[in-house]
């Protein structure tokens, strides 16, 4: 079995589901012959033709609207936003129509669509190519927000997203698109949505993260282990709705929680997790919850970019602050 990158796993999942289900359609800017700006749809046009791999005009708002209309007719559109920073014109249709249609019609219409977008910084690109807007979508009732952190999870979670009867915003951490390869069997097996993945067991501190920062967080856990500190690492994976049960169970064991995300700090997902822990796990905590996040600034250009993104050192420093409490 061949080892593949995260972006190849994305392509593999779409191809699998397009073979299995004729109602699955890929649409977006340059997704056809060109194979997408990051090559996520490479080869799909050759396999499935122009009708199922649909090149649209340069027109984000209506790409989202098209997907909504197609979904109303029982198709399963996978729309691509070329970059995270180009997703904002799509939000009107995602929020006002895709997210609300099931509730508005009490289930008589629903919207089985996926909006895929690369997300996050770290590729030395301008701000519109480096954003982490997951919290904006997570705030919206009716949406699912999913961010994979490995090739295998990208494959399994994207299959689950396409099969889900409700709209899913699927953010792909572009910094790790080609960071490493792993074996991903093309067996059509979806992973569950709405649950976290515990990537490393530990008993001193719980580290919660997602997407590209799973890598730095696991590295931090490794370095902490060398010092005798046992960190549990949780990959959130589904950002909305959050699997708080797994996080609370872990905190019951560790008494400490550090949340790591690259999006800006204020009203980020870390704030929601901290609030939930304050509400429901107050007496399990021995230390204040720590957040290691991006800063409340637009993501800076490449010379300062790595200063903005949470680093292994910042994660370890935050863990050390929690360890000061006994």
């Amino acid at each position: 079995m061949a080892e593949i990158t995260l972006i190849e796993a994305v392509t593999q999942a779409m191809a699998y589901e397009m073979r299995r289900d004729p109602s699955v359609i890929v649409l977006g800017e340059d997704v056809g012959v060109n194979g997408g700006v990051f090559r996520a749809t490479a080869g799909l046009h050759a396999q499935f033709g122009s009708e199922r791999v649909l090149d649209t005009p340069l027109d984000e708002t209506t790409i989202a609207g098209l997907a909504v209309g197609m979904a109303f007719q029982g198709m399963k559109p996978i729309a691509e936003s070329q970059f995270d920073g180009f997703i904002y014109p799509m939000m009107d249709h995602i929020i006002c129509h895709a997210a609300r249609m099931r509730s508005r019609t009490r289930g008589r219409l629903h919207c089985p669509m996926v909006l895929r977008a690369p997300c996050g910084g770290g590729i030395r690109a301008p701000e519109h190519h480096s954003e982490a807007p997951e919290a904006l979508f997570a705030h919206i009732p009716g949406l699912r927000v999913v961010i994979p952190s490995s090739p295998a999870r990208a494959y399994g979670l994207l299959l689950a997203a396409i099969r889900d009867p409700d709209p899913v915003i699927f953010f792909e951490p572009k910094r790790i698109y080609r960071q490493y390869k792993e074996e991903v069997p093309d067996d059509g097996e979806a992973l569950p949505l709405d649950v976290c993945f515990v990537l490393r067991d530990g008993h001193d501190v719980t580290l919660v993260t997602w997407g590209a920062h799973v890598k730095e967080t696991l590295e931090a856990a490794e370095q902490l282990a060398e010092r005798g500190v046992s960190a549990e690492v949780i990959d959130l994976a589904t950002i909305k709705p959050i699997d708080f049960d797994t996080i609370r169970e872990s905190v019951k064991k560790t008494g400490r929680c550090v949340i790591v995300h690259e999006a800006a700090r204020t009203a980020g997902i870390g704030a929601e997790i901290a609030a939930q822990l304050a509400e429901k796990s107050m007496f399990d905590l021995v230390a204040p919850v720590e957040r290691v996040t991006g800063y409340d600034v637009p993501i800076p250009l490449f010379r300062l970019e790595m200063k903005y993104l949470p680093s292994v050192e910042r994660i370890i420093a935050a863990v050390d602050r929690t360890l000061a409490y006994r």
């Binding site: 098209l66 209309g69 197609m70 249709h93 508005r104 009490r106 009716g142």
Partner: protein
């Protein structure tokens, strides 16, 4: 061309629309109401061209005019307006977002122009499925200044989708007269940008609307692509019930009331010997009775329950 008798049946629907705008909202405590009195011929004349399996997607002022014209059950419709559990959307859509899915009414939207891209997506799905159904996409004059209007007509014309774009032009985007916000005489001129036919029609003449839309339907159904039809009419009432009509004169409103599309069509029927004056007035009375009965019944229906408020946000 539709026979006189077929069209005569439509007068019942037009009258019913008008009667539906009584004081029901105030009585039931519903806040919002975007009235459409005076614009009945545009919806009745256009929807009359459809086959039963064809689809519509409409706008915030279409809750009654398009919903009734597409054949809604009046009681279920009234129940939805009043937010009652037996309504078309179990009281969660309301007047602004009523949809009758089995009836081919895929819903209204409260976002001006917001339904147009959805309509293009639906039409794209119909084309991909090799369906011979078509879709009428309704929006107001204000929506044609939104970017989505242009994006959507560009896509639909490029791909020759089975959709007809119908502008319910009532001449005002809330308080703004259409002549002050576009540098062209007729909205239909915009069709030239997309290489599709554009036509401005007297939207108060139900037969003229019918003829124009039927031709556009045939074009859409035969794979030649969309058309843009500007159905020029007028809204007698304010944008909503809070509107004090500060932006237009009572004389202007009166002039348009004299162009009432329903009275005009009744006269055509009587003059043409299709119906007697008494028969026409009987329809009027029957419509009033039907609406009253639907409203009274809907008022007795159960309220939605807060216990299941979180249900149906996601699939169960």
């Amino acid at each position: 061309m539709k026979s006189w008798l077929d069209v005569a049946a439509d007068v019942r629907r037009s009258v019913t629309l008008k009667k539906s705008r009584r004081s029901i909202y105030t009585r039931a405590g519903a806040w919002h109401d975007a009235p459409s009195i005076g614009q009945e011929a545009a919806s009745v004349g256009s929807i009359a061209t459809l086959r039963p399996e064809d689809l519509i997607i409409h706008h915030h002022r279409g809750h009654a005019i398009h919903t009734i014209a597409k054949g809604a059950n009046l009681t279920t419709m009234m129940a939805e307006f009043l937010g009652k559990e037996p309504g078309y959307c179990r009281g969660r859509g309301g007047s602004m977002h009523i949809a009758d899915i089995p009836g081919g009414n895929l819903g209204a939207t409260g976002v001006v122009g917001g339904g147009i891209p959805t309509a293009v997506g639906i039409a794209l799905a119909l084309q991909m499925r090799r369906s011979d159904r078509i879709l009428l996409s309704y929006f107001g004059d204000g929506a044609t200044n939104e970017g989505e209007f242009h994006e959507s007509l560009n896509m639909a014309s490029t791909w020759k989708l089975p959709v007809v774009f119908l502008c319910d032009n009532n001449q005002y985007g809330m308080s703004m007269n259409v002549s002050k916000v576009m540098n062209i005489a007729h909205i239909s001129e915009r069709a030239a940008s997309y290489g599709i036919p554009g036509q401005s029609v007297d939207g108060n003449d139900v037969l003229a609307v019918y003829e124009a839309v039927l031709a556009a339907d045939e074009r859409a159904r035969s794979g030649q692509g969309p058309s843009l039809i500007d159905l020029m009419s007028y809204r007698w009432r304010g944008h909503s019930k809070s509107d004090r009509n500060l932006y237009r004169t009572p004389q202007e409103i009166d002039e348009w009331k004299h162009k009432c599309p329903i009275r005009r069509f009744k006269q055509v029927l009587v003059d043409g010997g299709v119906m007697t004056r008494d028969e026409v007035e009987d329809i009027d009375q029957a419509a009033k009775t039907a609406i009253d009965r639907a409203a009274e019944e809907a008022l007795t229906f159960p309220e939605p329950s807060p216990e299941n408020m979180e249900a149906e946000v996601y699939a169960p």
